[in-house]
Symmetry: C2
Subunit: 355 residues, 2 copies
DNA sequence: TTGAAAGCGCTACCAC
DNA sequence: GTGGTAGCGCTTTCAA
């Protein structure tokens, strides 16, 4: 085995001999020489709270400017033990919800002085090497936005003393902090709304079976229906995947007694349901059949969909997540925090209205 | 001015006194001690090509395993002058094209041993601080996927001796490498297709005015129309933005002589056109009016849209981009490479067919 | 193949 | 407020 734990597949290339004679990048010493000050002064000029005279700082900054000097975060990180980077695991980018989360995370963390180091999960489940690589980069924390094997990742991070925070999912055991939407409450509200709309036959389209989010929404939905004297909904699995959701829709609509209301574990699958019901079964959404999602992504408001859904407001969720993450970083650990950010039932026209 | 060049807004927090007594992370020395070998041996065990006996490497790996040791990339980077990270500037995440690019980039670069350091551009144009931050992290290269002020960024990177590669855009001057689609050829093909379809009044919906991509597509479209004896198209600006595109659509359709064919600089705006034409003007797409996009994102194939478009195949584009980037890294610069990846006219039903 | 030793560029601590 | 100095955890000579 040439490659320990399968992690060292890559060798960084050596600069070839004929390469352009790349100038050595200026260091703090170079700047100090030009500014006529010590290297310590240069360091202080680039450190916010440091005690340095305006005069000295200006000299350093001027010298830095002319030399094109930029403090080396790598060197700084080595001594401060903080890289200023946050590892972000994210996937399912076809579902609009995650690109939006990514953008918000990047902005919020940037404002706090951190940058995101991305790692996406490939088709295979070889979670280990990826996380391992990221941990080697000494990220100050890890955010798990959408991955398989969440618990395993979370465990490995805490073993490595790196704070983990999940968004839109949680671990079974209370081992990691998380920020989620109102899965149970939202699903209950949807159940009540659909029952009030006079629907008779309900179906639930699940996401990934091992997803806490999908499970909680399913439980809330079933509870909500049960509380109103309705039987448990039909059930089909869409795995958060567009094509799988289309297939599931067909199975549902081909039944002798097809459902008249389908609640999907997220908007992304709800779109698949709408597209399929409309194009392959000729149904009019909101009249022949009601479809409800969860998330309230931008697409949900487009005229073609007008999707009734339960919102998971991205700004507040991300804001909370960043707060929690920074807190863990500052405390060097601390007890897990599991936060629920309130959403709201967004009523559009994809589901028949009460009365 | 307490914060030089506006970059030092953040101070990393000090671990508070009451923080959990976080164990020091194991270093190569610790592993060496346990393995009964030198620290050099540990280094070699984790370096692919290094000359070390199987026996020694196994001992090191075992010791590393028990201690939970992970080589510190920060320290390694300091000496090797390579961080193993690539800066990625990306925005417009609402346009499906970019999340897809992001995912593909992450995967391809991961396979080559690199990770992505993200930076997204906020609403303001203060490009400098962001790029500066990323450059401080000593990224091995920078990818510009969708930003304003591309040229400025590109210039700053090359000044800092960091390779830059653009995707889906290029700089006016040949200062940076780029990978783009067949903007001109594709737009010409679309013009020919629409003319063959018997359309009479053409319109072009532009993206951002300073975008090379939008300009090239517009030129190609006009050339294509002109070559077939058609006048220049009407023109409206959508800035790659959904709402702006909706507004532009209204302006177009409210004219005394509305166009019967609209070519949009990208799919994202084409969806806005379709939604608006359908919901606010009651038009049937592909019959009353033809709409064509550019990119061929996943949404374009949904039954609700069936968008005729010119494809920009993400896998090949990203693959080329990674090749070019690695080449620049290995050569330590080199001449700019401007690559065009072929696409194809994807005919669906949003535009009337010839005959 | 191995170990000792010299830094990589910076921060942090110490005197002054 | 300032400059010297000792490392941070590694890679990379160089001898052995």
């Amino acid at each position: 085995m040439n490659s320990p734990r399968g992690l060292m597949k890559h060798r960084f290339p050596q600069a070839s001999p004929q390469a352009r004679p790349r100038l050595r990048r200026p260091t703090a010493h170079d700047v100090a020489r030009v500014a006529g000050l010590s290297q310590s002064a240069v360091s202080r000029a680039f450190t916010p709270g440091a005690s340095i005279s305006d005069d000295a700082r200006l000299k350093v900054l001027a010298a830095a400017q002319t030399l094109g000097y930029r403090p080396n975060m790598i060197a700084r990180s080595l001594i401060t033990e903080r890289s200023g980077t946050i590892g972000l695991a994210i996937g399912y980018m076809e579902n609009q919800f995650y690109p939006a989360i990514l953008e918000a995370l990047s902005t919020e963390f940037a404002a706090a002085g951190y940058r995101l180091l991305l790692f996406t999960q490939g088709p295979r489940d070889d979670s280990d090497p990826l996380l391992d690589e990221v941990l080697r980069h000494r990220v100050d924390a890890v955010i798990l936005a959408s991955v398989r094997m969440t618990s395993k990742f979370a465990e490995e991070c805490s073993k490595a003393q790196v704070p983990v925070v999940l968004i839109n999912r949680r671990t079974e055991a209370e081992i990691a902090s998380s920020v989620t939407g109102e899965n149970r409450i939202g699903a209950q509200a949807i159940a009540a709304f659909l029952v009030a709309g006079g629907h008779q036959r309900f179906a639930y389209m699940a996401g990934l079976e091992d997803s806490s989010t999908s499970r909680e929404r399913e439980e809330g939905f079933s509870e909500g229906l049960g509380a109103l004297g309705q039987p448990a909904p039909l059930r089909v699995v869409g795995n958060y995947d567009f094509e799988a959701a289309r297939a599931g829709t067909k199975r549902l609509l081909l039944r002798k007694q097809p459902p008249d209301a389908i609640f999907c574990a997220n908007d992304h699958m709800a779109f698949a349901v709408i597209e399929t019901a409309r194009s392959e079964f000729g149904l009019t959404i909101g009249r022949d059949i009601s479809v409800v999602g969860f998330d309230d992504v931008a697409l949900a408001a487009w005229p073609s969909f007008m999707l009734t859904t339960y919102s998971q407001p991205i700004q507040p969720m991300v804001h909370r997540l960043v707060e929690i993450t920074l807190q863990h970083i500052e405390q060097g650990g601390g007890d897990p925090i599991r936060d629920i950010v309130p959403g709201a039932l967004i009523i559009r026209t994809s589901a028949r209205l009460p009365q």
